[in-house]
């Protein structure tokens, strides 16, 4: 697809809407797919919260339908399945398809001035592979012994046949493998496209920061998804062929065997870069959106790129902070502690640049802007609490308590999700040719961020109180019963949070078909994607644009009345 020629538009229904190789169609496919799974994962979270606040009580409305065997009550095994699938779904089937699949696909060719991704067929295969992975995961919930209950982390020996019989766990591992494969395909596509298809005049330092975020994410995907892919293969082999990669011989009999801790190393060598994979697109998007809506250049563009690069580089060498209680050697533990603290520094630099971007700007407080500022809030809160967990002496107490749950939901879930919301509100006019309701968007923002803060900050208190995670019921242990009121607070706020998302769902669906028609450039932004007409033609650009200006030239003194300029225009002399 490189070169200037324009391919004919596909005509058949299947080639146009199902097996399309057009990055814009694939982006929307990923978006609907991801939103559907976010809904499923979110409903699972509501059920988990119900059980924790009301232990042993039947789930209202849907309880008898979903849990008929136990009269509507979630039993301990089902509860374990719920939090396992909740984690797996939200990460692999919700956030990844939306942030990376949908927005990676939408933004990259349009922002760099290309007609499509460099490998369009691979792009299409990447989507259908994640669909296959999702179907395998879905199927795993209906096999006789049900879905896996071993946590999204799937530690052996609980995840081997020692701890879990049945095909649910094996299918889960296969689903993760397939989803990983999809992301690797996407990653190879994104990296090669960004390197090779930038329009003339778009140097590396003229790209929107969104592209940098997508690039670094793609690099991490390509390097580290194979690690978990291999770990899943080894786990599948242990389960299906009786190999002993992760199953140890009893220490008392002295025979040699496998090592369950080996899995943890492999898992987290992938797992820690994975959290950066989820946040880097949001960081890139937010860096751009803050500039766009403050009508100010992105402060410290090169430093921001450098910070994201540093985080990418360091991401693989901090993973041991997930394993401080496993019995790592002191030297290894201390190295991971130091490196984890070091990796927080580039993150702090990003904050500095973001806050400096909006300082003395002229803020247009659209929904996209509110959510971008919201990322600063939630990631600030979540990121700072990482200090407690990076420090071994405090982590020993806090590991596997709700403190960790609060921390990673704020940094990984809330921040990425807010980034996704910001992107949806921002790109919706170009993607669907209509405007979302700004009023509903603002209501959505405030009714989301307030309960969300309550939910996860209460978890910090719970964790500090010693409440372990992945417990079916906190009232049966006398040590934990006095913490139950915190569960009630968390659940109440969580239900409000869940209900608030209905506002978004309503806004999204209603606007998609009945929203006001969108102008070509409603946000008055100069990046190449906004130079296209709406709807965007299948070839994106009639002529490949030539870039003369950076993406953040807002409020340049020479611009006169307007406070923005397109990247294809030259700044006045």
């Amino acid at each position: 697809m490189s070169g200037d020629h324009i391919h004919a538009e596909p005509t058949s229904f299947w080639k146009k809407h199902v097996f399309s190789v057009d990055h814009k169609v694939i982006a929307k496919q990923f978006m609907w797919f991801g939103l559907l799974w976010l809904l499923i994962g979110g409903l699972m979270a509501m059920m988990i919260r119900w059980q924790l606040a009301n232990p042993g009580m039947a789930v209202p409305l849907v309880g008898n339908l979903l849990f008929s065997r136990t009269d509507g009550v979630i039993d301990p095994a089902t509860y374990n399945m719920l939090f396992t699938m909740h984690g797996t779904i939200m990460i692999f089937l919700g956030l990844t398809p939306i942030l990376i699949g949908a927005f990676g696909n939408w933004c990259i060719p349009l922002m760099i001035g290309a007609r499509d991704m460099i490998f369009p067929l691979l792009n299409m295969l990447s989507f259908w592979t994640v669909v296959l992975g999702g179907l395998v995961g879905l199927y795993s919930m209906f096999v006789p012994l049900g879905a896996t209950e071993a946590g999204w982390t799937g530690y052996p020996t609980l995840s081997t046949t020692v701890g879990t019989q049945g095909s649910g766990e094996t299918l889960w591992a296969l689903a993760v493998f397939l989803i990983g494969l999809s992301s690797i395909m996407g990653g190879i596509n994104y990296i090669t496209t960004i390197i090779r298809l930038r329009a003339p005049g778009m140097g590396w330092m003229d790209m929107p920061l969104t592209i940098w975020g997508m690039l670094f994410t793609a690099v991490l995907n390509v390097l580290f998804l194979p690690v978990i892919g291999s770990a899943m293969l080894l786990l599948i082999m242990d389960r299906v062929f009786g190999t002993t990669f992760f199953v140890p011989a009893s220490i008392m009999s002295g025979a040699s065997g496998g090592d369950p801790i080996l899995y943890q190393h492999l898992f987290w060598i992938f797992g820690h870069p994975e959290v950066y994979i989820l946040i880097l697109p949001a960081w890139g998007l937010v860096s751009d959106l803050l500039s766009f809506f403050a009508r100010k250049p992105a402060f410290g563009y090169k430093v921001t790129v450098g910070a994201m690069f540093a985080v990418t580089l360091l991401s693989a060498v901090v993973y041991g902070h997930h394993m401080f209680t496993t019995g790592l050697s002191a030297m290894l533990g201390e190295s991971f502690m130091l490196l984890t603290m070091i990796i927080s520094v580039p993150g702090e630099i990003l904050f500095f640049n973001w806050l400096h971007t909006i300082w003395r700007g002229s803020l247009r407080l659209t929904s996209a802007m509110l959510f971008s500022m919201g990322v600063i809030f939630v990631f600030g809160l979540g990121g700072l609490t990482g200090l407690y967990l990076a420090t071994i002496s405090t982590d020993i107490f806090l590991h596997d308590t709700y403190f960790v749950v609060g921390h990673f939901h704020l940094t990984m879930a809330a921040s990425s999700l807010f980034g996704a919301f910001a992107a949806i509100y921002f790109f919706f006019p170009k993607m669907f040719g209509r405007m979302m309701s700004e009023r509903l968007g603002k209501i959505h923002f405030w009714t989301t961020i307030i309960p969300l803060t309550v939910v996860f900050c209460t978890m910090f208190i719970s964790g500090y109180g010693g409440m372990p995670r992945r417990y079916y019921d906190h009232t049966s242990a006398s040590y934990l019963a006095p913490l139950q009121h915190l569960n009630v607070i968390t659940t109440t706020a969580a239900f409000i949070l869940g209900a608030a998302q209905l506002i978004f769902a309503w806004n999204f669906v209603r606007s998609r078909w009945w929203g006001a028609k969108a102008p070509d450039n409603p946000w008055e932004v100069g990046t190449l994607d906004w130079t296209t007409p709406t709807p965007v033609p299948h070839y994106n650009f009639k002529e490949i644009p030539v870039v003369h200006t950076g993406p953040h030239e807002f409020s340049h003194p020479k611009l006169g009345d307007r406070d923005w300029i397109s990247q294809t225009d030259k700044l006045p002399a």
Partner: protein, 195 residues
């Protein structure tokens, strides 16, 4: 999809770089996958004082060596074929065919190696050594199987004139992946049969 030389446009030199770059990233990614498996091998092997463990049935050295030689010869043939294909010299199709047949012979040798070991009582569930041997060689073999299909597809394309000096990058990239498979096998061979 297969058309005659005259109808297929000459490959865009930029497209050649693009697909080669893509293949390099793909091989980089897959190196991480095989690297993970190999790291697991090293760690689990390091735990054991005596390797191979005493008293177990070992896979057949002769078969494995024969397979290795055949696979290396296959790579050599493929490499020679690609050079002919680039310059338009005769022998492109026949050398590629030789490489493909040698690759299939490797597949046969591998299967024989596994059956031989299984028949002698060494099953994947027999212990750590067997887990690693079967696990790693099976994952490698799965990729070899897919690569062989690619080799066959290229063979068909060479015969119908789709590939030649005018259009060579797909052939080069497939060959690159085949050599990568070869390298991975050599590492496995050295790890299980030599060191």
């Amino acid at each position: 999809m297969a058309t005659l030389t005259a109808e297929l446009p000459r490959e865009d030199p930029k497209a050649r770089v693009n697909s080669t770059l893509g293949m390099i990233f793909f091989i980089g990614s897959w190196s991480m996958a095989f690297g993970t498996l190999y790291l697991s091998f090293l760690i689990l092997r390091d735990r054991v004082d005596i390797w191979p463990p005493e008293g177990i049935v070992l896979p057949n050295f002769a078969l494995a060596t024969a397979g290795t030689v055949v696979l290396l010869a296959s790579s050599a043939a493929i490499h020679a074929a690609v050079r002919r294909g680039r310059t338009g010299a005769p022998g492109f199709a026949s050398l590629w065919c030789a490489g493909l047949l040698l690759g299939l012979a490797f597949g046969v040798a591998q299967t024989w190696l596994w059956y031989d070991l299984l028949a002698a009582g060494g099953a994947p569930q027999s212990g750590g050594y067997q887990s690693l041997f079967f696990g790693l060689t099976w994952v490698h073999a799965a990729h070899v199987a897919l690569a062989l299909i690619a080799l066959m597809w290229i063979q068909y394309g060479i015969r119908t004139g789709r590939y030649g000096p005018h259009r060579i990058s797909t052939v080069q990239n497939t060959a690159m992946f085949w050599h990568f498979m070869d390298v991975v096998w050599v590492v496995l061979y050295l790890s299980f049969f030599v060191f």
